[in-house]
């Protein structure tokens, strides 16, 4: 069993109009090389589900997005993602704005094959006012009303991990796997990019096996792209690229996303990495201290 693919072939599994979930959190461990592959493609009308960072900003800026399902889109140290902000302020995208935990419940519902999960989260807020598709229901067990958080069924999930074997056993070595396991389980097709493809015996060490958060049956494709989370972080391999994010943000004020792509995107990942200083430079980016 060999699930290894090249980035372009993996992304070719995505079609116009699909719902694509993206793992990671804000500026952390985003499958940015796969996102860049979408930027290079003709894909359009995507619905994106994400704890958003530059993944959402770039896809919006490139006109690939019809709708964003989000709780936040932020680069953390730059609190407001510049291109997501622009897309919203131009009225260019549809949105489903929900609570961070509601997104988790929606992914869980999709993973478990149930139409919704009841929660009190969202009650009394504009999450309900602006999302008439999210229903409030009676409980068979008490007299309260409950939000029926609908399943967020994903056609495709994109995730970046530290290592994977060819069969799709994926290791997240960093301190947090975020909600990546739920993205993997909520999707029909899960494409994982990784820093390194390893042989299966790598996982014989129980400490490493403990860092595998979903079964290989939930992984459809493995793409080896060292440095593939750049400019987001891949703790403990490298931190996020503050200078690059600042340059990216500056283009939102001057030049636009076309200027960013012209300067950095390149025809493939090798060219991109060359333009941002090379893999060694990415690997040398210090981890942030909070």
């Amino acid at each position: 069993m060999d699930k290894r693919l090249g980035a372009a072939d993996a992304v070719a599994q995505i079609s116009d109009g699909m719902t694509v979930g993206i793992g990671g959190w804000g500026p952390r461990r985003k499958p940015m090389a796969l996102v860049r592959e979408i930027l290079r493609s003709d894909l359009k009308d995507l619905t994106i589900v994400s704890y958003g960072g530059a993944d959402v900003g770039m896809l919006c800026a490139s006109g690939k997005v019809k709708k964003v399902i989000f709780a936040f889109v932020s680069l953390d140290f730059i609190p407001l993602e510049p291109y997501f902000r622009q897309a919203r302020q131009n009225g260019a995208i549809e949105v489903m704005e929900i609570d961070e935990g509601m997104m988790l419940l929606g992914l869980r519902a999709a993973a478990w094959g149930v139409p919704f999960i009841p929660t009190e989260v969202g009650l009394g807020t504009d999450v309900l006012t602006h999302n008439p598709a999210i229903k409030v229901i009676d409980s068979p067990y008490d007299d309260k009303e409950w939000v029926a958080m609908p399943a967020l069924n994903l056609d495709v999930a994109l995730i970046h991990t530290d290592r994977a074997d060819a069969r799709g056993v994926c290791q997240i070595e960093g301190p947090d796997h975020y909600l990546d396991d739920w993205f993997a389980r909520a999707a029909q097709t899960t494409i994982v990019s990784c820093e390194e493809v390893v042989s299966s015996d790598y996982f014989h060490d129980p400490a490493r096996a403990r860092q595998v958060y979903w079964e290989r049956s939930a992984t459809s494709a493995v793409v080896e792209i060292p440095g593939g989370a750049h400019p987001s972080s891949c703790n403990p391999q490298y931190g996020f690229d503050v200078a690059h994010f600042k340059a990216y943000g500056a283009t939102a004020k001057d030049g636009g996303f076309a200027a960013y792509c012209e300067q950095f995107l390149g025809a493939d990942e090798a060219q991109y990495q060359e333009r941002v200083g090379g893999l060694e430079a990415i690997r040398n980016i210090a981890l942030p201290t909070y």
């Binding site: 936040f72 929900i98 009394g124």
Partner: protein, 270 residues
Amino acid sequence: MTAATEYTLAELCIVASAEAFRDDGEKLATGIGVIPRLAASLAMKTFNPALMMTDSEAFMLSEPNPIGARDEGFVQANESWMGFSRIFDNVWSGKRHAMLGPTQIDRFGQTNTSALGGSYQQPKVMMLGARGFPGNSISHRNSFFVPSHNTRVFMDGECDYVSSIGYNPARLPRGHSLDDVDIHRVITDLCVMDFGGPDHQLRILSLHPGVSAEQVQENTAYELCIPADIPTTPAPSVEQLQIIAGLDPHNQRAYQIKDNPPGNRSPEVV
């Protein structure tokens, strides 16, 4: 405990905000931003050692981390893993007290972190999004820190976008009571408040030294509950200032309130 005679407004706000965590017992204290984080850390290191805290990433700590770059040999006091997915288990259990800084706080205690002006489809200013505010507000105790008390934050009418549930009868979910909502303290650069006035009206609890109730009302677009005798927010103690300095070795607290003014703004000390 010796009251300090010289302290900054930021330090006064840290100590006043720490008080919000005094009676929490064994809860996860989440302070977002420098002053709320230092407040929660100070509370944990002094009068409420039962508090729990994270490293703002994926571990729970038995001892708060100092803010910013730390010495080479520093080892943080991990006590458990606490990744983002596990945070929701804690949030929904109610054993948490978050202190955050929303952009708008209306007279109902509803807050806005998402968007300002325009229409929902096309807001004039897009901000963070609802984030975890809907879940926080209905699941556990929350407090707010506002570094600049003005009528843009404490605004007229209802929030442009309601991120968190407050004491608004019109939005009360069926089967719930307004008393289920627990907005504990609102600390600003002028005063400490709660929603303990009649019908959950925002009420002044203490005024920072040199600040008048009139000044607070002038900077609030809706009517405040102003009790007859309002105490002055207590000055930090010398011991508290030492602990704060240890928790914030790079003095990030000096950049949190415009011009880093002194804590006592009474005319007699000018």
